[in-house]
Symmetry: C2
Amino acid sequence: MVKRTSQILRNLRKLMKNLAFVPETLHAYIVPGFDSHHNEYLSPRDKRRDYITGFTGSSGYAVITENQACLWTDGRYFLQAVQEMDENWTLMKEGTAESVSYTEWIGKNLPAGARIGADPWLVTHSSWENLENDVNKYGQELVAVDKNLVDAIWEDRPGVDVYPIQPLEIYYTGRTWKSKVREVIQKIKAEKAACYIVTTLDDIAWLLNLRGSDIPYNPLFFSFVVVCPDGRLHLFVDSDKVTVAVRQHLHLEPGSFVEIDIRESGAEGIALDVKVELHAYEELKDFIHSMVGTTDQGQFWFSPFCSQSIVSVIPKSRRLCKTSPITLMKNVKNPVELQGILESHIRDGAALCEFFSWLEQTVDSSEVDELTAVEKSREFRSSYENFVGLSFSTIASSGPNGAFVHYKPKEETCRKLSREEMFLLDSGAHYKDGTTDVTRTVHLGVPTDFQRECYTRVLKGHIAIRNTVCPVKTKGNQLDCLARIHLWNVGLDYNHGTGHGVGHYLNVHEDPIGIHRRPYPEDPGLDVGMVISNEPGYYQEGGFGIRIENLVHVVAASTNYNCGKFVTFEDLTFVPHQRKLIDPGLLTSDEVSYIDSYHTLCREKVGALLRSLGKTEALKWLIRETEPLG
Amino acid sequence: MVKRTSQILRNLRKLMKNLAFVPETLHAYIVPGFDSHHNEYLSPRDKRRDYITGFTGSSGYAVITENQACLWTDGRYFLQAVQEMDENWTLMKEGTAESVSYTEWIGKNLPAGARIGADPWLVTHSSWENLENDVNKYGQELVAVDKNLVDAIWEDRPGVDVYPIQPLEIYYTGRTWKSKVREVIQKIKAEKAACYIVTTLDDIAWLLNLRGSDIPYNPLFFSFVVVCPDGRLHLFVDSDKVTVAVRQHLHLEPGSFVEIDIRESGAEGIALDVKVELHAYEELKDFIHSMVGTTDQGQFWFSPFCSQSIVSVIPKSRRLCKTSPITLMKNVKNPVELQGILESHIRDGAALCEFFSWLEQTVDSSEVDELTAVEKSREFRSSYENFVGLSFSTIASSGPNGAFVHYKPKEETCRKLSREEMFLLDSGAHYKDGTTDVTRTVHLGVPTDFQRECYTRVLKGHIAIRNTVCPVKTKGNQLDCLARIHLWNVGLDYNHGTGHGVGHYLNVHEDPIGIHRRPYPEDPGLDVGMVISNEPGYYQEGGFGIRIENLVHVVAASTNYNCGKFVTFEDLTFVPHQRKLIDPGLLTSDEVSYIDSYHTLCREKVGALLRSLGKTEALKWLIRETEPLG
């Protein structure tokens, strides 16, 4: 549906010249698709780029000049952008041979001396620096516009919802928030820094053992944290979200119960006391500004993803821009987190066995389409213990829809599920003890030889990753080709990464670890306790899509020789791979053994749960689907 | 041997305060180990860092302050640096947990406001920008010191040798220099640039079909080139090196024979005439400076490896810093170059068969040591057609010496070759039709089971790379793990890259292509016609070293399906892999077939040459060593 934007653009262009809003007339205004925390998913009131362009894709920049309005996005969204934007907007295609970046376009289309405005809250510090460099190359100037111009013209902008924050008990987290904060303080001290400013919301949620509901699919709450080496932790958050339970959890109530972390009983246990001080969410910048004035020792540490607006109040000589100390702590799961993740996967697997067993029985007799599949898979999951909600928007795609990697079923595109087509389900949920993300591809009728060959080659890549033994700290990028070589050998490939980090009842995409074609400069490399997805695929345009995804965790490998420390993966996901899609003739004996032993684990772990819950049909389905191949 | 540097440092520190040499007193002076062209190997008069420190390793930076003198280098050279430097120098170890970079050290050890000097000829533009950023972070200033202070105090500095430049005939190059220049001009025009400034010596040698002898092991000559879109090519070179043959080749003589490039017979053939203008080597900077003043259109294009000194005369708004347009042209070999490379490898393989056959017969009866092996392998090579010289310093290592990856035999460390130890020979040569680089590891007695297992696993990695099928433009970094997984599986690894680009009778290390653990941001990805090495290894400290290296070239792959264009590799090197070191029980049937067919090719190609030359002993050795495994 096309959005009419003429009036919106007229209003915006007026503000670009209004000195009550901008320090000087702007020649261009950049509207990025980000919020102040660089979140992957945006709350409705942060969808500024969607509001002015009409375009609702997950990736894209808008640039408005006096006479032009352009949107940059990538190949996934070309069609959608054309469908959603009116004639005011020009689509600028990224990643094509002729494509120019938006800074290059601005540089070449506006004169030297032009002033390019942007809201520094919506641009990370590292992006701002690059942007400024690019703009300066053309003799132009990047202007920080503190009042967001889109907000100023957005009449029906959604309000702020107040969702209460929830403490997550030590039974699930395995570690007190104070112990985590103390470890962060050690890292701050090692850097001789004045503080660490936490702006990434899953860092805050993980650090404080709190969860929220401010963002779709991510259990986060809007906030900032400043950790000081003296033990003070400043939490900037809307006080309406801070319930009595949260106050007790953070030891803000007199006589609050103090959790003891048994792992801290030694020297660390008698460490520095950590005290939380609450501030309003909006006060962070003033707080940092005044802290700069009152402390004269140490640098202010922030991550490259920190908003430029915050960084701008710190003098250059006192900036320490460096990967968050919390990122790696969060990536490496502790034994309690891992146990919870494993248990949540067994429940999740049981729900999926129910779903696939139900689907097989229902597909002939009644109308099952992609949207029904989305709803039904949610329904099965939601009956299990600790279920909180979905961890991302379910991808359920039948036949040719499966060839769109990021397909989401809608009324207009929704296909009926049938015995004639392949069906791909990529779905996951948050449980209080873990986050899941699993993809299975099935054929409810008779697959073609080509479909079986493709499926089996994808499976070979999936097994190759699972069984990799590699030196600790190997970056995921270095392993990516192992998932592809069996497809490459016959001239096939897939156009997405092979794996991403996954949080513990947190974001389903947890950077910077994973298995990607492109290097991730911040990737710390694989280490014991990390959780990532293993999801190669193959997509036949107009035909079908195949993806096979398990979550795996990194474990120590035992090897014949020991030239350093080696690691390998173990599966966390336990859902059978459809046997009829596997061509055993293409598998090595090691691969057959792996599948058979994986299926035995599915029976043992998920089968036991289904049996104990009396889910006989699903159990029967599971037993049949896990018969040995060999 | 320790070098005494007290007087040298006193002299240098005087100059750091002498306003005839520096614009203001310097607090520190940086001496990098590079020359004005960022060459890998330095001519003796460019070894400034060696002169002031005594340290002769290939990698390292020296920093001199009023009271301190420090050298930064990496783990390969810690021992050597300690042995070569006197008490004036502090070794700063790179790549250790406590290591600080030299800019960090300067930042923390000198006050804000300190002036840090360096010769901008010896620092590339991209390094200079990073250096300036780093220095500015600490409130310090980077000062370009135009007169090199080391040169000013270096009394016995070697003079300039005048080696004549040699034209390389079209029979070898397959393409006229004018045709190459015209292609560069097209690229300059596509960028709307005013010119391209060529500072990389192998770019110049390749572009003009000329070779020189100014640098050890690299057939290059000191020069700069400026290519202008109007067809003028300005060559800055010592006129004493420009012989009549070179003048004729460059069509500078009246009535010079004009080469016709048959591939240009079409539209391209009636293109722009290209004219060379000669200038003195030292005139480049003035030339650029005056060109900036006389042209007002277009940017000055240079590569990130261009010296800062040159870039400094170009106003920022007119700089275009971007990968050399010549790099990719040079990386992708034309059919004539490839044919020459293949033929030179057959001769090189014959020489190595002679060497190994000789070694086997001689090892018991007379004293053969590593230095003899170096000399003898050179001797065999030098008797073959088109031999010019070695392409790098031969690595010949016996037993435990093999565990040092970059080992070079010297009198002090030289071991006798024997039937008790493994022997590794990594060597190569320039022929007028191609450059070779090959490593073979042999055991002249009875290898242990562990040695055979390690050798076979290295070989499996070598075969995996050779037989990879992957999408065109796959970056070498993405394939690196294929060479390692068979070692990783048992807890072993090797601590170097797997492959590097190789020139056509040019540098044996030709960036930016190759197969590396770390990503090379400039790597254009694999394409048909590229030549790289394939050289996994394994090193057992105190025991032995194994490396197996062939050069391979990228060819189009034929695949069952065609989801895009796929490529694979073919071997260029034809020297047998020692059969007694191979454990066939560890090989798959595909791997055995590969070895047998590779050995058949060795017999066919190298065997035929040995037969025609009547080299009966070497031929007998080759036939025996290429018996089928299967």
